[in-house]
């Protein structure tokens, strides 16, 4: 099963390599990985998507927690959470019609046109995974010349107050 982990770690030289090395050394899979500073610049947040059976995920979490500079590991999959992925992509648009079609499609998916050339449109898309896959499938026939994906970002939901 696919699991999305949020890892807080001390933002130090070499710490990310330690996380990545752990996955390759123990044969765990990394589907995507994003990392950036948190509000506290000395702490980084890693969003890591991996997959495995229950026992494997338990070991992954324990091995991550064992790392000296890892502050916390949260398996977001266990609770209500929000996931987003962002992408920048050049889509082929040889004719004006194609360009219009792409723009329509983009607006359905809340993607924005951020650049264009004689024969391409550049889109900025942000969506949850399933929707994102749909958008890509629909754009495929036009020809996707290049794509840069961010990998999954995720955050747990804050529950609303009961009225």
């Amino acid at each position: 099963m696919r699991h999305t982990l949020a890892i807080l770690l001390e933002n130090r030289f070499g710490e990310l390599a330690r996380i990545v090395g752990l996955f390759s050394a123990r044969g765990y899979n990394i589907e995507s990985l994003t990392v950036a500073e948190t509000l506290e610049p000395e702490i980084s947040r890693v969003t890591l998507v991996t997959s495995g059976d229950e026992k494997t995920i338990e070991q992954i979490v324990k091995q991550l927690e064992k790392q000296i500079r890892v502050l916390s590991v949260t398996d977001l999959t266990l609770n209500d959470h929000i996931e987003r992925e962002m992408a920048l992509l050049h889509v082929e648009s040889k004719s004006g019609n194609k360009r219009l079609e792409i723009m329509k499609l983009a607006s359905i998916f809340d993607a924005r046109v951020i650049d264009a050339s004689e024969d391409t449109v550049t889109l900025e898309a942000m969506a949850e995974r399933n929707k994102f896959d749909d958008l890509l499938r629909l754009l495929q026939p036009f020809g996707i010349r290049e794509i840069a994906r961010s990998g999954t970002l995720a955050i747990g939901r804050v529950s609303t107050r009961t009225p």
């Binding site: 770690l9 001390e10 030289f13 070499g14 390599a17 330690r18 090395g21 752990l22 050394a25 026992k55 338990e58 070991q59 324990k62 091995q63 927690e65 064992k66 790392q67 000296i68 500079r69 890892v70 502050l71 916390s72």
Partner: protein, 584 residues
């Protein structure tokens, strides 16, 4: 000339006011090691650590440096020192090949959870990444085989890193820490700050186990019909042998140690079943297999212990006490995980015991003990002795007789290691020093030397095979140089015996690259180094050679010719379960 003088004066002018307060990185390193109680460091010099060696020479009266003859030897010595004392072992090597030669020793300490701090030299900061002479990415190479590693970026952070590294190495589940220091950092000047409180917000080693879980564990133990204590290196690290003895005696529980746990429980004790696993005793493996409750303490369910996992102890509930949460339920699911220090956990258990619990359990276990004793009678540890040729098992028994089971003995890996585990009978913890997890040949002799340097007056023996000894035999020079009393017993079958055994049993005796023809005359080798060499080739010569060799002062190598094609039994074939032992 003038300009040089002017420059010098200018330089002095800048430096002079700082000299009262500031030290070089090398000075900070040595001062911090001393402040942290380090008394011995094993190492090998080279270009990147010249400043440190300059400082070591000035401090030789306070900090002893032992010069190995190869970095692997030096790190194994540090490990032997650590295993014998329980304090972190220190090693110092240069950059590049110094660091790569040290890796086997570091990986060995990592697998066996031995506290080590290995200081590696590095090229100057400005040259890092330029493929400089003797440059290697030590941090990258050692990352997967250290508990933690550091690249020191300036002299100002050196003291804190050394302090923190020593703490990390010897707390929680112990392990090796590498501190990589660029050469220019050891010359850079900085203030030596006072000892700091270590701040590691992400590192919280487990101490006391959850009290509710302890209660649950006790309840399960007193209700079990066929309980067994399966204990390992964690008991030795935690210094919990007394607690183990009390707990097992209070509840009349059978105890089986792993290879790493040898000596944590006296092997002659009536509750001891001897070692379990691939070459464990028949009755220990049967007892684990038929048990209804395994109380696992400081162990990690290694494949050499469990055999085929799907056949391991099918009826048993498992209580697993370990300081490392990632060891629990890694290979075998624990029904009751108890994350905590082995010593505290057993103390907590002892506190929760009432006298009624103990009395009733002793009675209930009488049929369990009867069953265990039947297994023991059915397949005791036996071998056919000979008057013609020295049997390796007899050699181990003779060694026990002559040392009373009280020697510190370090081994390599292979047949000799297993026979010693089966037939020597260690009395106490920190006597057995062996390469368990990594299985590194060449470990035994330097490790024995490290232990001997920690305890100059104790009987310390390297019990090695003729193959493994040749991997680190150059350390004879170290043993002699420092006037040690280390004894080396070479169990010489002129084969890589364990590999030969597997080729005999599983490859139709197709012996491939296991013959050791071409080995040196070990007696002459010893003499070449200025040590004493003795040899026994017949059983009637054995006790004389052992007695004479062990009682002499100085370094003695005893070359003992043993029966060449003897096999280690019992044995669990690869892929089989613990009950599928081959007895002979």
């Amino acid at each position: 000339m003038n300009s040089i003088t002017a420059l010098d004066q200018q330089h002095e002018g800048v430096r002079a006011p700082q000299e009262d307060y500031e030290l070089t990185g090398a000075e900070i390193l040595v001062e911090t090691l001393l402040r942290e109680g380090v008394d011995t460091i094993f190492g090998y010099p080279g270009g990147a650590v010249l400043h440190i060696y300059d400082e070591l020479a000035k401090n030789q009266h306070r900090l002893r440096h032992i010069l190995g003859r190869h970095e692997q030897g030096a790190v194994h010595m540090a490990e032997g020192y650590a295993k014998a004392t329980g304090r972190p072992g220190l090693a110092l090597v240069t950059s590049g090949p110094g660091a790569t030669n040290a890796v086997t020793g570091i990986a060995n300490a990592f697998m066996d959870s031995t506290p080590l701090v290995v200081i590696t030299g590095q090229v100057p900061r400005k040259m890092i990444g330029s493929d400089a002479f003797q440059e290697v990415d030590t941090i990258g190479i050692t990352r997967p085989c250290t508990k933690y590693n550091y690249l020191v970026r300036n002299a100002g952070e050196l003291a804190e890193i050394v302090q923190e590294g020593l703490y990390l190495a010897n707390s929680g589940r112990p392990g090796p820490v590498v501190i990589d220091i660029p050469k220019d950092v050891t010359a850079e000047r900085a203030f030596l700050s006072d000892s700091k409180t270590i701040s590691l917000p992400g590192y919280r080693p487990a101490e006391r186990a959850n009290p509710t879980s302890i209660e649950k564990a006790i309840k399960r133990i007193v209700n079990a019909k066929r309980p067994i204590l399966y204990v390992g290196g964690g008991v030795i690290h935690a210094g919990a042998s007394d607690e183990l003895l009390k707990l097992s005696e209070a509840l009349n529980l059978p105890v089986t140690p792993t290879l790493m746990g040898l000596g944590c429980f006296p092997s002659a004790h009536p509750l001891s079943l001897g070692m379990l696993g691939m070459h464990g005793t028949y009755w220990a493996n049967m007892a684990i297999s038929e048990s209804d409750l395994i109380i696992a303490i400081g162990v990690r369910f290694d494949d050499r212990v469990t055999g085929a996992l799907e056949k391991f102890a099918p009826q048993a509930e498992i209580i697993h006490v370990d300081v490392d949460p990632s060891s629990v339920s890694k290979n075998v699911r624990a029904h009751l995980p108890l994350v905590g220090d082995a010593k505290s956990a057993m103390q907590q258990m002892l506190e929760s015991l009432s006298s009624e619990m103990c009395a009733s359990l002793g009675e209930r276990l009488s049929s369990w003990w009867e069953q265990i004793n039947q297994w023991k009678r059915f397949a005791p540890l036996i071998y056919e002795n000979s008057e013609e040729v020295i049997k390796p098992q007899f050699l181990c028994q003779e060694l026990h007789r002559l040392t009373g089971g009280n020697a510190i003995i370090a081994t390599d890996v292979g047949q000799h290691q297993m026979w010693l585990a089966q037939y020597y009978g260690f009395n106490g913890p920190r006597q057995s020093i062996t390469s368990g997890g990594l299985g590194a040949m060449g470990f035994g002799f330097p490790a024995a030397l490290g232990a001997q340097l920690a305890f100059p007056d104790r009987q310390v023996i390297a019990f090695v095979g003729d193959g493994g000894f040749q991997m680190t035999a150059q350390e004879l020079a170290t043993a002699v140089q420092y006037g040690t009393n280390t004894k080396v017993i070479v169990m010489n079958n002129n084969y890589l015996g364990m590999v030969r055994q597997w080729q005999e049993l599983f490859y139709q005796r197709n012996y491939s690259a296991v013959g050791m023809d071409g080995s040196p005359d070990f007696v002459k080798l010893a003499e070449a180094y200025g040590a004493v060499g003795l040899r026994a080739t017949k059983p009637r010569e054995l006790s004389g050679v052992l007695e004479g060799g062990l009682s002499r002062s100085g370094v003695v190598v005893m070359d003992i010719a043993v029966s060449a094609e003897e096999n280690v039994y019992p044995m669990i074939p690869p892929g089989a379960g613990l009950k599928e032992m081959v007895l002979a």
